[in-house]
């Protein structure tokens, strides 16, 4: 074990250990818990930055441990995993900050932050998994650690939402387990490798591989909320806002999307998958989900539900990118992994602020919030516009690459889908913005809290502002060397390069 592999473990443990310690903290030790949280998140940021630099310089990070013979638990850092791990680490830091503010004075915070840290540990683990088995392990860990967060409030609705969530994800997990076991029995241990590891089976086990792909997509598609497996997502909205952000932007949904990317690129290999003929159905499913999610979002009055269906729609962009052969689409999909995360988390932070500060839960109650919460609403607006795909914001970059990739691959219908989706996005976001900025505020907000100097608690305010800034940065400086896009191009080059 060397320093390099220690860095990997450090990334995991920075949240795992803090989480475990937090579990055993007394409810009252508020300050200690906050510091621990921020310390863990900050430490992780530093470690990931180091990792990022190392990977960029071409160092190999690997750590493995055989927990069953021939079945290593392996961590590694390749370009792909860095993309996700960086995203989740950055967002986690701000989500933590936000959550500390958001949950001030609510009960069971030790439990909450314990699971919160576990959840991020699992996400990091998913990102850093170097083989399919490790991925599976962290994937299930994610399921388990998010459940207590979803039901955190303990209300009947929360419990019901949690039950639905667990039912979906466990079913998906079981199918994924079957797929993994099956693939292992065919191919032995399955490390993640660019261009896939199944070349040897292409001739002899063609049919099995097709079935397996279906199983994988169902198993992971649950978390990625591909229609019709998305049913849990809107109901999980009962969770506190930081959790929703986590679910939608950082952890669960992203883990699903990332898993699909992994399967397509690093298990099957895009070209192998194309040859097996499994990509077009996936693309179609993604396309359908994009439109369907957007349409559903249109009819939601509850803000968080609208955002949830928006997620259903947006995540499938990533899937779509993976399902279309060619580097351009890949770039579009992968970069949207980051962009959607930034956008959606900003939106949820905003929604959380509305709920926490003014007691607003519905779109119809949002008249004039821009005047009461100008900074929050500004961040919200940036993110909403980004979602719609207004240049030069982040969303625009993803959509641009996606449609270019689709055209190159000859899938012209995709551009239609993207256009339709953008229109729909506009249709469900613009009214909100209009209400927020241009309609007069009501005489009294449903439940207003006052937080002194700022429009709301400073922690609640800092997080969306930062993420909104990131959204702008990711779009405006997309072509610079330090942007998500630049990194994604590196990945695409490795997958499709010579």
């Amino acid at each position: 074990m060397n320093v390099l592999s220690l860095t990997l473990l450090g990334v995991l443990c920075s949240s795992l250990l803090t989480g475990l310690i937090i579990f055993f903290l007394k409810e009252e030790s508020h300050r200690l818990r906050t510091w621990l949280n921020l310390l863990g998140a900050g430490l992780k940021l530093v470690l990931v930055a180091a990792l990022l630099r190392g990977v960029y310089l071409g160092k190999t990070y690997a750590w493995s441990f055989e927990f069953l013979p021939g079945l290593p638990l392996a961590l590694g850092a390749d370009a792909n995993s860095m993309l996700f791990v960086t995203l989740s680490t950055v967002l986690w830091f701000w989500t933590t900050l936000y959550a500390v503010g958001y949950l001030e004075d609510s009960p069971h915070r030790s439990r909450f932050f314990g699971f919160f840290s576990l959840c991020v540990t699992a996400t990091t683990g998913i990102a850093l998994s170097a083989n399919l088995m490790t991925f599976l392990i962290f994937y299930e860990l994610l399921t388990v650690s998010t459940y207590p967060l979803v039901v955190h409030r303990g209300t009947r609705k929360a419990l019901q939402g949690g039950r639905v969530y667990l039912t979906y994800t466990l079913l998906g997990g079981a199918i994924l387990l079957l797929a993994v076991a099956w693939l292992y029995s065919l191919a032995g241990p399955v490390p993640f490798k660019e261009r896939g590891v199944i070349q040897g089976l292409m001739v002899s086990h063609r049919r099995e591989l097709q079935w397996l792909f279906l199983l994988f997509m169902i198993g992971i598609g649950v978390k990625a909320a591909i229609a019709p497996l998305h049913g849990w997502l809107p109901r999980a909205m009962v969770a506190p806002a930081p959790v929703s952000s986590l679910l939608h932007a950082v952890a669960v949904v992203k883990a699903g999307a990332f898993g699909i990317v992994r399967i397509v690129y690093d298990v099957y290999g895009a070209e192998n998958a194309a040859e097996l003929g499994v990509l077009p159905p996936l693309a179609i499913a993604a396309g359908v989900t994009i439109v369907y999610g957007s349409v559903c979002a249109l009819f939601q009055d509850e803000l968080k539900k609208r955002l949830a269906f928006s997620t259903v729609s947006q995540v499938s962009y990533i899937v779509l990118g993976a399902a279309i052969l060619g580097p351009l689409a890949a770039i579009g999909g992968l970069v949207h992994l980051v962009h959607q995360g930034l956008l959606k988390i900003t939106l949820f932070f905003g929604a959380g602020n509305y709920a926490e500060t003014l007691g607003i839960h519905r779109v119809s109650e949002m008249n004039g919030v821009g005047r009461r919460l100008p900074l929050t609403t500004a961040a919200f607006t940036v993110a909403a516009l980004g979602m719609i795909g207004v240049p030069p914001l982040a969303g625009y970059v993803s959509k641009w690459y996606l449609s270019k990739g689709a055209v190159t691959a000859g899938d012209h219908w995709v551009t239609v889908v993207l256009a339709a989706s953008s229109l729909l996005n506009a249709a469900y976001f613009l009214p909100i913005l209009y209400r927020a900025w241009f309609l007069p505020p009501p005489e009294k907000w449903p439940a207003e809290h006052s937080f002194g100097r700022w429009e709301t608690h400073w922690m609640l305010l800092a997080a969306p502002l930062v993420t909104a800034a990131l959204v702008i940065w990711a779009g405006v400086f997309a072509e610079s060397a330090f942007s998500p896009l630049a990194w994604v191009k590196l990945i695409a080059a490795r997958e499709y390069g010579p």
Partner: protein
């Protein structure tokens, strides 16, 4: 090896003679057994299978003890759980300073130590008749422990358990008689050498197997288990579910894979597999419909025992043999720890709430956070979520099934896992609901919660140490 028998046996006798020293005796026995188990593990890992000829004669005239990987694993598991129960039982039994409580504590310790003796004897012996005596010792201790609860349901359950256990023992013993008539020995290894395929041994094996599956509570002979396990005192339920039924299963493994492997035909194996599958489904579905927590856990045991019997069909081929063996036993270990944790949690809940009706248990996570956490972790292992021991075991079984082309096994495992998730969820949902005032009336000492959590952690952590277990299980296993 001898310390494993003599330690708890002598301690049991002393605990009975000096009732006030019961707990001390249990700890003393735990010390002796702990040292013995550790040195035995070292010896087996270092020098392979260890044998001991009792009284120095050796089979066939004398009795041989042998410790291979399987035996050592179970001995260690027994020691672990017995120690945990010892730690847990003291505050549990002293819940109230009533005459009943004093009475229960006075007899609990010797009975616990007898149970421990019996399990150790069972795992070490390689002599069919000696195993019979060990089985009886085990059965009596288990029944007496169930009856210790003293309430009507517990007594009735104990009586039913006793009847099943005794008649099952007699079936087993008749089988032993036939084996002796045929082979002129009751030593497992010699029987394997001298066993011709014929009616006598077929019927003998059928008799012994019948008796043992009744003791192991394999569907459809599981009917005695839920009432007995659900009505016993919590630490006793834990011991019964974790270890006692496993003892009979262990003996079945010995019989089918060591003494009479020639009878392990695909047809017989499939029969076991079918019963196992039926047990998984039936037990899980029943667990889903129970209204009491302890009954739910007990039915879950019925289901989980079914998995163990999937080892039989998976051992017929060559490819999946090793994986199935290790998977089954890893699952056994993980279930033992997880189930102990669950029953201990149930004991905590019973103590805190005065009942274990699931519907009325809102707020466990709030009132007993450590217990709720333990319950969740144990559930993780039971469902088979990674990286728990349950996951590692199921993974091995699953891959063995796929490798052998036995798809139905894979299907059963997955469906069983989902059903397990469903019934665990029933409880966990209650756990996170806000507590209803007046439900939780008594505090629970930290040690009772801590013990449960520790075992749940072991169950989960077992998966990470899978390689170590596999290495151990390889030693002296039934490999061609």
């Amino acid at each position: 090896m001898s310390g494993l028998i003599l330690g708890p046996l002598v301690a049991a006798a002393l605990a009975f003679t000096f009732p006030k020293r019961g707990r001390g005796m249990a700890w003393a026995a735990a010390g002796v057994v702990g040292i013995a188990v550790l040195s035995l593990i070292r010896a087996v890992l270092g020098g392979g299978v260890q044998s001991h000829r009792v009284s120095g004669w050796g089979a066939p005239l004398g009795i041989d003890l042998r410790a291979d990987g399987l035996a050592v694993l179970l001995l260690a598991l027994t020691a672990l759980i017995a120690v945990a129960v010892t730690g847990y039982a003291a505050p549990y039994l002293r819940a109230a300073d009533s005459p009943e409580a004093r009475h229960r504590e006075r007899y609990f310790w010797p009975l616990l130590l007898f149970l421990w003796t019996a399990l150790n004897a069972l795992f070490l012996s390689r002599d069919l008749f000696n195993l019979y005596v060990a089985l009886e010792l085990l059965g009596f201790a288990a029944v007496a422990l169930v009856a210790l609860e003293g309430k009507g349901d517990a007594l009735r359950a104990a009586l039913r358990y006793l009847f099943v256990s005794l008649s099952a023992s007699l079936f087993y013993l008749l089988g032993v008689a036939l084996v002796y008539g045929q082979c002129a020995t009751v030593d497992l290894a010699l029987v394997a050498e001298r066993a011709p395929r014929g009616p006598a041994l077929t019927v003998a094996l059928a008799l012994m197997t019948g008796g043992l599956i009744a003791k192991a509570a394999l569907f459809p002979l599981h009917f005695w288990l839920p009432p007995a396990h659900a009505n016993a005192p919590a630490p006793v339920s834990a011991l019964l579910s974790a270890l006692v039924v496993k003892g009979a299963f262990y003996l079945l493994l010995r019989l089918w894979f060591e003494a009479l492997p020639v009878f392990h035909t695909p047809a017989a194996a499939r029969l076991f597999g079918m019963l196992g599958a039926a047990a998984i489904l039936w037990g899980s579905i029943n667990a889903l419909t129970q209204s009491r927590l302890k009954l739910l856990i007990a039915y879950s045991t019925v289901a989980q025992l079914g998995y163990l019997f999937l080892v039989f069909p998976l051992m017929t081929g060559r490819d999946g043999r090793f994986g199935a063996w290790c998977g089954g036993l890893l699952l056994l270990g993980a279930h033992a720890c997880a189930k102990t944790a669950m029953f201990l949690v149930a004991g905590n809940i019973l103590r805190a709430a005065g009942h274990d009706r699931i519907r009325e248990l809102a707020g466990i996570a709030q009132v007993l956070p450590v217990s709720a956490f333990a319950l969740g972790l144990a559930g993780v292992s039971l469902v088979g979520l990674p990286p728990s021991g349950g996951f590692a075991g199921k993974w091995l079984l699953l891959s063995a099934g796929l490798r052998e082309g036995q798809w139905w096994v894979a299907a059963v495992i997955l469906v069983g896992s989902l059903l397990a998730a469903a019934y665990i969820m029933r409880v966990m949902t209650r756990a996170f609901a806000p507590a209803v005032p007046g439900t939780w009336v008594r505090p629970v000492p930290p040690i009772m919660e801590g013990t449960a959590l520790a075992l749940a952690l072991v169950a989960v952590g077992m998966g990470l140490a899978g390689s170590w277990f596999v290495e151990l299980l390889w030693l002296g296993g039934p490999w061609p």
